[in-house]
């Protein structure tokens, strides 16, 4: 199975060196190949296993207290004036190939 690891990495905003690409590509392909074993299983007539819920049982629209701003920001590496701060140009710093 051939996969485009470079493209996948770009979608996740991860930069890989050519060496890394060469190393990871066969590794990921092996992983996917073992997963494709599942395709061989005959699932004819087997219902999809997915939980169902009745519309009426859905959550009612009642707000509850959120976390405090301090709690929210606790995991943020950078913060400023109550905001989470992230560095880097957001548009176009990784070109899609």
């Amino acid at each position: 199975m051939k996969i485009d690891v470079k493209h996948t990495a770009e979608l996740s905003r991860i930069t890989l060196t050519p060496e890394e690409l060469e190393k990871f590509t066969p590794q990921m392909e092996t992983i996917l190949e073992s997963v494709t074993l599942l395709k061989d299983v005959n699932t004819d007539g087997v219902q999809p296993m997915k939980a169902h819920v009745k519309f009426d049982e859905l959550r009612e629209d009642v707000p509850q207290e959120s976390l405090t701003q301090e709690e929210v920001l606790r995991n943020a590496k950078h913060k400023e004036a109550g905001f989470v701060k992230v560095y880097g140009k957001v548009f176009g710093d990784i070109e899609e190939s």
Partner: protein
């Protein structure tokens, strides 16, 4: 070369719920302290479980019912992956193959039917603001209060052909959203966002099949342009017009347009290049494993249907057909639910005394002519207004005097029924000596009298006017006319 314009619209509407789409955080984020309406779910923390909001889904269905869509009996959510700081989970919970509403339509005032492909439920992203700095690298500040607010996306088929129709469609969607209390749909506040996609194709060389634009023969379709950052309904029309002109010019100069996303610049009234889209978006959709399939019964759908009210376009047709109201007046009156309801109640009140059609036309005339112009924050009391209108219809007061009274009462906080009482009292005081006043007027206008006697009947209007002036409007012009005719015999 002649071209056809092909437009599709994607409209996002934030729906009006108290809590977010998949968590219980409050939704009202406007002007709130940043990151104060956030929990592990809308922050995308590992292990947090999304729990769908029933009301949000009802509002999505309501929009679908109002636009003639088919409502699904099973609701599935999917994950749409992309990487961006405003999307903390790394994916947005949305719907891919099975939207809640599909195959709807909206008929525009000019009769054109816009086909709706789908309306699906998703969640809004966080708000990020971008900053440049001289002392450090560029950065963005992120507020997750908006993250997870319920959002519906309405997608039309590429069936729209003019910028005006696109604008009218957006207007109608906004009206429906407001009428049904689905959303305030304020574009400036970002509660409604319109993203048109536009292409121009050579006439006769393409066709539309099942909502897809296909080339005929060896024709190669021109790529489409998406326009974002549109902050008002008028900008929808302007941005499309600008793009059509830009694309036509580009093709005229022999350049091939490229598929791209552009941003509307409201200050310069132009669109600006944002990014090219050479590859198709790759969102790697997958079923959302944390949300079960939601079973919707037909009873559920019926219950939601009961929230539907008569919509503006239905009102317009009814006002025009049943009551003979002009299209323009019908459109203005039905533009807001509040005005339409005022109009209909006023019609009902007048209907006690007048024929239904006349009652409606009087109500429309008064609203369009005076009331809308006068009404600021204060609402004019409907009983008083109908009283005034009836006095006018009975010929007890002239329209001019009635309007003057209305204005005076609004701006000086006077009571219309009190004023009417006073007016009628002075009118009856006048009535006693009306004969004298008329005689006086005749004495003062010998020329008019001889003109009238000489056959110039139009002079009657002048004489009536003179009497009305002398009584400061507090007399019935018909009575005055009768007295004049009598005395001039």
């Amino acid at each position: 070369m002649e071209y056809d314009t092909i437009i599709g619209l994607e409209i996002h509407v934030q729906t009006k719920t108290n809590s977010k789409m998949f968590c219980t955080c409050p939704t009202g984020y406007f002007q709130k302290e940043p990151n104060s309406h956030v929990c592990p779910v809308c922050m995308g923390l590992p292990g947090a479980l999304p729990v769908p909001n029933k009301r949000a889904i009802e509002l999505c269905m309501l929009m679908g019912l109002a636009t003639d869509c088919t409502i699904a009996n099973e609701i599935y959510f999917d994950r749409k992956h992309y990487f961006y700081p405003d999307l903390p989970k790394g994916y947005q919970i949305s719907q891919y193959k099975n939207p809640i509403c599909s195959d709807g339509s909206v008929t525009l005032p000019n009769g054109f039917e816009v086909k709706i492909e789908r309306i699906h439920q998703e969640e809004d992203v966080a708000k990020s603001t971008h900053h440049t700095s001289t002392s450090e690298s560029d950065y963005s500040l992120i507020d997750y209060n908006k993250s997870g607010v319920p959002l519906i996306e309405i997608v039309t088929k590429p069936c729209i052909r003019t910028a005006k129709d696109a604008k009218d469609f957006a207007t109608q969607i906004r009206q429906i959203a407001r009428y049904l209390n689905i959303s305030d749909a304020d574009m400036e506040k970002g509660q409604m966002r319109c993203e048109p996609n536009i292409s121009i194709q050579e006439k006769g060389r393409w066709e539309e099949k099942d909502g897809k634009i296909l080339p005929i023969g060896d024709y190669e379709l021109n790529p489409k342009v998406e326009v974002k950052n549109i902050g008002s309904i008028t900008a929808v029309e302007k941005a499309i017009e600008f793009e059509v002109e830009r694309l036509t010019k580009e093709l005229g100069e022999g350049r091939k347009p490229i598929q791209q996303t552009r941003g509307w610049n409201a200050n310069k009234n132009i669109t600006e290049f944002q990014r090219s889209k050479e590859t198709a978006d790759d969102y790697r959709y997958m079923p959302e494993p944390d949300i079960p399939v939601i079973e919707v019964s037909n009873d559920d759908i019926e219950r939601i249907k009961s929230e539907l009210v008569e919509l503006p376009h239905e009102k317009i047709t009814r006002y025009m057909n049943d009551w003979g109201i002009s299209q323009y007046a019908a459109e203005v009156i039905s533009a807001s639910r509040k005005d339409a309801s005022y109009f209909e109640k006023l019609q009902t009140l007048l209907f006690e005394k007048l024929e239904a059609k006349i009652a409606a036309q009087e109500a429309a005339n008064w609203l369009m002519g005076t009331v809308f112009a006068l009404e600021g924050d204060k609402e004019i009391d409907m009983n008083d207004l109908s009283l005034l209108i009836m006095k006018f219809k009975e010929g007890k007061i002239t329209k001019g005097k009635a309007e003057e009274m209305l204005k005076d009462c609004i701006s000086n906080n006077k009571d219309i029924s009190d004023e009417l009482d006073m007016f009628e009292k002075s009118a009856s005081d006048n009535a006693g000596n009306i004969q004298d006043i008329v005689k006086q007027v005749l004495d003062n206008n010998p020329k008019a009298v001889s003109d009238y006697k000489g056959g110039k009947e139009a002079t009657m209007g002048f004489l009536v006017g003179q009497v009305m002036q002398a009584t400061k409007g507090a007399s019935n012009p018909n009575d005055v006319k009768n007295i004049l005719i009598e005395l001039l015999k």
